[in-house]
């Protein structure tokens, strides 16, 4: 991990803010996938909240989700959380913020989420983020690029782990000495 963070910084993504954003995308993507893949097949034991009986406060969040993804159906991961409107609203706010255009583009964030989902073998996440990448304009070549990078570094990482290689790349990265957002430099 240090090798690519360092290489990415050397390639121009030098600011830590970019890597914080990427890390948030990784975390929240995994959170979506855990619920959708883990409970998606639970059937009546844990059914998604949808249809005419959906509480209004849940429907309000669902409307935001549909608008954000420009689709009629709310993705399963969110419908499974509709049993607790307060939790859903806070979780959705975190997802929306993590995936919105910011220092990193939404397009790149979806590519990161696709890579995370492939790597963690999430059938929900791989399909969902592939669809989002395409909706945001990533072509077949771009999809294959992300697929290739994901596959190649799923190989390198296991070679490194098998031989228990210690990171020797972190030191090559430039250090960002700016303070935390809103803070002061020390």
């Amino acid at each position: 991990m240090e090798a690519h963070t360092a290489a990415g910084k050397l390639q121009g993504l030098a600011e830590d803010a970019l890597w914080y954003e990427a890390a948030h995308v990784v975390g929240i993507t995994n959170a979506l996938n855990v619920v959708a893949d883990g409970l998606g097949g639970a059937g009546r034991l844990f059914s998604p909240v949808d249809g005419p009986g959906t509480p209004p406060e849940v429907e309000t969040v669902y409307a935001e989700i549909r608008a954000f993804y420009d689709r009629k159906e709310v993705p399963l991961a969110f419908r499974l959380l509709g049993h607790d409107a307060g939790y859903l609203a806070e979780f959705w706010a975190a997802v929306r913020h993590a995936f919105a255009d910011n220092r990193l583009s939404r397009r790149l964030k979806e590519a990161l989420a696709f890579a995370v989902s492939l790597t963690s073998r999430s059938t929900f996440g791989a399909a969902f983020h592939l669809e989002e990448m395409r909706r945001l304009g990533v072509g077949e070549r771009g999809v294959l690029e992300v697929l290739g990078v994901t596959q190649m570094f799923s190989s390198y990482t296991k070679i490194a782990d098998t031989l228990q290689l210690e990171s020797d790349m972190g030191v090559i990265a430039p250090v960002d000495s700016t303070p935390a957002p809103g803070g002061r430099a020390s």
């Binding site: 990415g8 990784v26 890579a115 790597t119 070549r141 690029e145 994901t150 570094f153 490194a160």
Partner: protein, 84 residues
């Protein structure tokens, strides 16, 4: 600690020295010793060669930049819990 002894760059044959030079150019960094992974992949050029070329093909600029792809690689490594 590595489970194998990582050889010094000087212990590798001429063909590997060329790979190490390419590694410097790839990272745009003048390493004192090639990165551990470069030395591992240079151990068997018939594996490391095509593996490295496939990686470079995947990492080259296209719809996504090289830097963006390094970020993709970083998150893959993170999900795989690989500290390297």
């Amino acid at each position: 600690m590595p489970t194998v002894r990582l050889r010094d760059a000087s212990e590798y044959p001429e063909q590997a020295q060329k790979m190490f030079e390419l590694s410097k150019a790839w990272f745009n960094y003048d390493f004192k010793q090639p990165p551990a992974m470069s030395r591992v992949m240079a151990w068997d050029p018939e594996f490391g060669g095509p593996h490295g070329r496939a990686m470079k093909r995947a990492m080259g600029p296209g719809e996504f930049t090289r830097a963006e792809k390094e970020m993709v690689a970083a998150v893959v490594s993170g999900v795989n819990a690989c500290v390297y």
